[in-house]
């Protein structure tokens, strides 16, 4: 048991280090500008006075490391600074939207993970059948579709008939079941985008194992094919499956940006796109940091889980 905690501790430290590096990159990116941020935002025609005022407002007069430490200190205390466009505290802007985005990502995950695992096991079971070939072609196709194409097809098909709303309005009084109903189309879009990849990888992980002698043995015992796959192949295929699921969940987090814009979903992605349009750099930095942290965290969890499910990795000498 000690081994597990030591391993988790090591991974957490590595994750923290990654997060630190990411925060440096996100903060340092503004330093890439040839002039400085104030000049870039105001353009060439700015007077020295307005430039100086904006520099003062953005705190650009301090050297970069000091500014970074100030920013980091604020972030660690939940203070992301003030939005340049709306003059509101960023924490306030982000607060409710973070919940909405997480809700959407979790909703899509709840739909896509069981679906893709089930389809993957079936494709492995009936490999080289018509079902398998069709699923292969569909997987390649759905990976190639832009998210907004899938989203608009769904709108055309399901929202046109009035079955589901094509716009999502979430207020404080929206109940959970209303959220499920209104979020269905965005969640379905995300599901369609990620399911194919997860399903193919599940299939590949299982088929890799089917040639092993112990599977042969299980077959010779007279076990049914489904039982062979579920009892003997799946537990050993868990590590790669967990990894691909995590990878796709991480993809969901970035994929929400486009989908949120299509469905006017009040989440972080929409906020980020608006902020990029207005060149509201503090907001973009804050949201980028949040998305990147979620990405790192998911990969961390996947890493730990896939180690725990593999006894050989747990008892490595």
């Amino acid at each position: 048991m000690n081994e597990i905690w030591r391993m988790i501790g090591r991974r957490l430290l590595l994750g923290l280090l990654t997060l630190f590096v990411i925060s440096v990159v996100i903060f340092g990116a503004t330093e890439l500008l040839p002039g400085d941020l104030a000049r870039e935002l105001l353009g060439q025609s700015a007077t020295p006075e307005t430039l100086a005022a904006l520099r003062e407002q953005l705190g650009l007069n301090d050297p970069a490391p000091i500014r970074y430490l100030n920013w980091l200190w604020g972030v660690l205390h939940g203070d992301f600074g003030v939005s340049m466009a709306t003059k509101k505290p960023i924490a306030e802007l982000v607060g409710g939207r973070l919940g909405n985005t997480l809700f959407l990502a979790l909703y899509a995950a709840a739909l896509s993970v069981p679906l893709s695992l089930m389809l993957g096991v079936l494709a492995a079971l009936w490999r080289n059948s018509v079902f398998d070939r069709m699923s292969n072609a569909l997987a390649l196709t759905s990976i190639s579709f832009p998210e907004f194409f899938v989203a608009y097809i769904l709108i055309l098909w399901l929202a046109q008939t009035g079955l589901f709303p094509s716009m999502v309005r979430i207020t404080a009084s929206t109940t959970f079941s209303e959220r499920i109903y209104m979020g269905f189309l965005p969640a379905l879009t995300l599901t369609l985008v990620v399911t194919a990849h997860m399903m193919r990888m599940t299939r590949a992980a299982i088929i890799n194992l089917l040639a092993s002698p112990y599977i042969e043995m299980a077959r010779l015992k007279g076990m049914s094919p489904l039982r062979v796959v579920l009892r003997h192949a799946v537990p050993n295929a868990l590590a790669p499956i967990i990894n691909v699921v995590a990878l796709n969940l991480a993809y969901l987090i970035t994929g929400v940006v486009v989908v949120e814009v299509v469905f006017v979903y009040p989440g972080l992605g929409q906020l980020m796109v608006d902020a990029v349009t207005n060149r509201d750099i503090p907001v973009v930095q804050a949201i980028a940091l949040i998305f990147a942290s979620a990405y790192v965290l998911l990969n961390l969890v996947a890493d730990v889980l896939s180690t725990i499910t593999n006894p050989r990795l747990m008892h490595r000498r």
Binding site: T18, V21, I22, V24, V25, I26, A29, T30, L32, L33, E40, R127, N128, A137, L140, T141, I143, S144, F145, P146, E147, F148, F149, Y152, I153, I155, L156, W157, A159, Q160, S166, I207, A250, I253, T254, V257, V258, V261, V262, M272, V273, A275, V276, T277, R279, D280, I281, V284, Q285, I287, A288, F291, A292, Y295, V296
Partner: protein, 304 residues
């Protein structure tokens, strides 16, 4: 019911194009290439045909398009009728014309971006593998740090800082994607630089640049070409996504991503016109994926 009809038409079109193109490839291929095409899957021949059509449309866009790229030719949102075969958009520009020019702009920009990402990424990657030591360490750790941030999010951050223009779009996407190419090129080159013939070339006194160009690159070509296809798909999709978000290629330049955005309101009225540019993006990506899939399958000798 409608869905079924659309699916049936799509299937028939797929098999028609695929069979014709496979027959054509078999007939017109030079003798030594014939075995390559003999047992190519239908998906691959379909992909090749579609890519060829896109290239032709992009090259001959001014000849094929009935109107000028951003010419206002009539009222807005006209229905599908001659001479506006696919109707007009929200400013009254001809949809078909803009679709045709979009092939040139969107695909051209995506191709240029991929080529840039590839040149930078693969040269740096091979160079790092060849030189090794602290340079390799620093470059690789730097790339690792950049790759820890999701690509779309990082592109959005860079676009905020550098502003949204076509040039910054190309540079931003190319640099984000170059990190992925760097990883692959470095790992492929690492297997090559330890070969005896590289040792021999070094002893002959060949310079670094010549080593990369004449000795390593030709042997690293196969995986890099397959990666080029996949990378193109990713770049193409992210450029379309950014243009769709209003952060990429800007009007009046005809571009598929922004065309979807501009005319999206039509969809809520049940008009499929805005889906055409989105479909054009999807079709090309599918086609490239099919061809890459076939190439990878052939190269690895995998028979499932």
């Amino acid at each position: 019911m409608q869905v079924l009809v659309v699916l049936a038409v799509a299937l028939v079109a797929f098999f028609g194009v695929a069979l014709v193109s496979r027959a054509a490839l078999r007939t017109f291929a030079p003798a030594h290439q014939k075995p390559t095409f003999r047992d190519m899957p239908l998906t691959a021949s379909f992909g090749i045909a579609v890519i060829l059509i896109y290239v032709l449309v992009a090259v001959f866009a001014p000849l094929l398009a009935p109107f000028k790229e951003s010419e206002v030719v009539g009222a807005q949102y006209l229905p599908w009728a001659a001479p506006y075969y696919l109707g007009t958009d929200k400013l009254g520009r001809d949809m078909l014309t803009r679709l045709i020019y979009g092939a040139r702009n969107t695909v051209g920009i995506a191709f240029a971006t991929t080529a840039l990402a590839f040149t930078v990424g693969s040269i740096l990657g091979i160079w790092a593998a060849l030189v090794g030591g602290w340079l390799d360490q620093w470059l690789s750790r730097f790339v690792d740090a950049l790759m820890a941030i999701p690509a779309l999010i990082f592109s959005l951050l860079l676009l905020t800082i550098f502003g949204t223009s076509v040039l910054s779009l190309i540079l931003v996407i190319a640099s984000v994607d170059a990190t992925r190419v760097y990883r692959l090129a470095r790992s492929v080159a690492q297997g090559i630089v330890v070969m005896d013939y590289i040792e021999a070339a070094r002893l002959r006194g060949e310079g670094k640049w010549r080593l990369i160009r004449r000795e390593i690159l030709p042997n690293a070509m196969a995986p890099l070409v397959a990666e080029f296809g996949l990378r193109f798909c990713f770049v193409f999709l992210s450029i379309s996504a950014l243009s769709f978000l209003g952060l990429g290629i800007k009007p009046p330049t005809a571009d598929w991503g922004s065309m979807v955005r501009e005319n999206a309101t039509l969809i809520t009225f049940g008009d499929i016109t805005p889906l055409l540019p989105a479909g054009a993006i999807a079709l090309l990506t599918v086609a490239v994926n099919f061809v890459v899939d076939w190439q990878l399958h052939r190269a690895s000798g995998l028979k499932e």
